[in-house]
């Protein structure tokens, strides 16, 4: 029993859970409104799509790469999704489906080019970022699509029964669980982490790089697509700017969750908590009426703190490793 407790304590997400609870309670103590149903609802809404965006980046971090085009894919899907429904009167399910297909296609493109060219994904996705966003602007000429079907809009606002839980949160929750299972309990998932740990070893173990990398990018594109469409549901319009602001948070959450940019170490639960922390912070900034000029600084400091904490936890283990690492 004690050993399991110790094991839990070692987990990345444990510390974060504490942070979430403490900060949550602290804020609530000062501003009871923080725990009001509506506020919780708002919190969960903003968490919902950020969660998926973070996972879309996390899966790429897992294989030791970066995907700069997450936002561009999300934006492209968002406007295609709403555009198809407005301009071409396509039924919602079909629109969703084609949205997913586009996302997957974009992801596949990223993965395929990265694998075949052997160029760092950072560069490839930097280029595709231009391409996807370019198509987006080319199609929309910066004009939003407004006529979103009612049922889509409702989905964006509805709560489950009279709980404060938004419908929007359902899909992200399901996906988070699936991702956890995928990373920890499926062969492909483990192979991705193995690849992230050491490309060379993975290949010598007969793990196919191209399969791993392409799959990862497809998943990333798929998730970005879902996020894009959720944002449309939420905003109730398909504007070309969707996705422009995703890049930084997409990295912040996994990193706060203790992910290693070099690859091979990610934690779904911790990432989810990372998203929650970021959301709580930005809410706290509003609730406590922090001077708008001060907000940026605050966020930066928070990221640094989170990282320092993670580093400190690793530090001791490292000293041990030094001793163990034999001649």
């Amino acid at each position: 029993m004690n050993r399991t407790l110790a094991a839990i304590f070692k987990k990345d997400w444990f510390g974060l859970l504490i942070v979430v609870l403490v900060s949550g309670l602290a804020i609530a103590a000062v501003k009871p409104a923080f725990l009001s149903p509506f506020n919780l609802y708002v919190l969960m809404v903003s968490t919902s799509y950020m969660l998926i965006i973070a996972l879309a980046q996390m899966i790429i971090i897992a294989i030791g790469q970066m995907n700069l085009s997450v936002g561009a894919i999300g934006g492209l899907v968002a406007i295609s999704f709403s555009g198809l429904m407005e301009v071409h009167q396509i039924s919602v399910p079909v629109a969703v489906l084609s949205g997913l297909v586009i996302g997957i296609a974009c992801g596949f493109l990223n993965g395929y080019i990265t694998v075949k060219s052997g160029i760092s994904a950072f560069i490839i996705t930097l280029a595709t970022l231009y391409i996807f966003k370019g198509i987006n602007l080319g199609i929309t000429e910066a004009e939003p699509f407004y006529n979103i079907p009612e049922n889509v809009k409702n989905f964006g606002n509805a709560k489950i029964g009279n709980t404060p839980i938004p419908f929007l949160l359902i899909i992200p929750i399901i996906i988070t669980i699936l991702m956890w299972v995928f990373i920890n309990r499926t062969e492909t998932g483990r192979h991705m982490l193995a690849y992230g740990n050491s490309v060379q070893s993975a290949e010598l173990m007969g793990i196919s790089s191209s399969k791993v990398v392409i799959t990862a990018h497809i998943i990333s594109g798929f998730l970005a697509a879902i996020a894009g469409m959720l944002v449309v549901c939420r905003l109730q319009l398909g504007t070309p700017n969707i996705g422009d602001s995703w890049l930084l948070p997409s990295f912040a959450a996994p990193v706060i969750g203790g992910a290693v940019l070099a690859g091979g170490k990610v934690d779904v639960i911790a990432t989810a908590l990372g998203v929650l922390i970021v959301a709580i912070i930005s809410q706290a900034l509003v609730i406590f009426k922090i001077d708008p000029f001060f907000v940026q600084i605050f966020l930066g400091v928070m990221i640094l703190l989170a990282v320092f904490v993670n580093r400190y936890r690793e530090y001791k283990q490292e000293v041990r490793r030094k001793i163990f690492s034999s001649e």
């Binding site: 760092s120 930097l126 391409i131």
Partner: protein
């Protein structure tokens, strides 16, 4: 560091030079006004700034890291310089020195944090970016400094070589040669590269890697400030939005130039002139695409396509030839 000439043909720079020439020929034939004096002058000025931004990022990429705070540093430095000139009334030269000092200082902070915590500079600079920028907006309340000495602002619009070239370009090119000397012909430069290529080996070989990494970040801040100065003379004022929200408008040119120029993202291999040509290529393309009526909304798309082709082309060349040039 091979000096045998025939190998030059297989270098990344040659490939880029080739592309640049091709596009120059294309644009000057199919578009009107590409070769107009006004356009060339304008180009020279944009290129100058993009080169400087590219170099500033390059020196951090050398360590295998990234400097997301580059834009923020640039703006902070420029605003500080503007403040020195306008509010404190300090003469131009000392003000500029202070500006560069500020840039170096902010870079130094990035370096220290990265080295001391061992956290990847991507994260560190991600954080410092919003911190620096936040302080800047807070202190300036987004008020621009535009009563700058005429002598200073005129420099940005001065025209040389019978009005074809901006002096800014000379500054950038001079900087390129200085950096080339640093990395190719000095012990410190060689140490910087070695530290970037394999920190453990460099450390064991008696190089203080952490110091080298800090130098790289300081140098990055310094060049960032220099780029900001050029930009300030070009827009005639120090304005908080000169690099966009959080200074992120600088990031794309900052990555593109070194990346296209053949600087290794994993560190330890850079190309000063490659970065220069990279910046030239990108600016050339944007300008050319604007001139060809592709429809402004599609410009990003075409830019992306061409960038992709450029890196793929370079990769193909790389696979055909065995690279052994570390600095060029």
């Amino acid at each position: 560091m091979n000096k045998k000439l025939p190998n030059f043909i297989f270098t990344n720079q040659f490939g880029l030079l080739f592309l640049v020439l091709i596009f120059i020929i294309i644009f000057s034939t199919v578009t009107d006004g590409f070769t107009s004096r006004f356009n060339i002058f304008a180009l020279s000025r944009v290129i100058a700034i993009d080169i400087m931004i590219g170099l500033a990022m390059m020196v951090v990429i050398l360590t295998g890291g990234l400097n997301l705070a580059l834009g923020a540093i640039g703006v902070c430095a420029a605003m500080f310089g503007g403040w020195c000139m306008e509010v404190l009334g300090i003469p131009i030269v000392p003000s500029l020195l202070l500006t560069l000092g500020m840039g170096s200082l902010l870079g130094w902070v990035n370096g220290i944090i990265t080295v001391k915590t061992g956290v990847h500079s991507f994260i560190v600079t991600l954080a410092t970016m919003s911190i620096y920028f936040g302080f800047m907006t807070m202190l300036t309340e987004a008020e621009a400094f535009r009563r700058l000495p005429d002598l200073f602002t005129d420099f940005g619009s001065a025209k040389l070589f019978n009005k074809y070239v901006s002096p800014l370009l000379l500054v950038s090119v001079a900087t390129c040669f200085t950096l080339f000397y640093l990395f190719r012909f000095t012990d410190i430069g060689r140490k910087l590269i070695a530290a970037g290529a394999n920190p453990e080996a460099a450390e064991v070989s008696g190089i203080s890697v952490s110091r080298m990494f800090i130098y790289c970040h300081v140098l990055s801040g310094f060049l960032g400030a220099l780029a900001a100065i050029l930009l300030t003379t070009r827009i005639g004022a120090a304005i908080p939005s000169m690099a966009g929200q959080l200074g992120m408008d600088w990031l794309l040119p900052a990555f593109l130039a070194p990346v296209i120029g053949g600087t290794l993202l994993s560190g330890g291999k850079l190309s000063v002139f490659g970065t220069m040509l990279g910046a030239v290529l990108v600016t050339l393309l944007t300008n050319g695409l604007y001139l060809l009526d592709v429809g402004e909304f599609w410009i990003r798309f075409f830019l992306g396509i061409i960038l992709l082709l450029a890196v793929l082309l370079d990769r193909a060349r790389e696979l055909l030839t065995l690279k052994n040039v570390i600095v060029s």
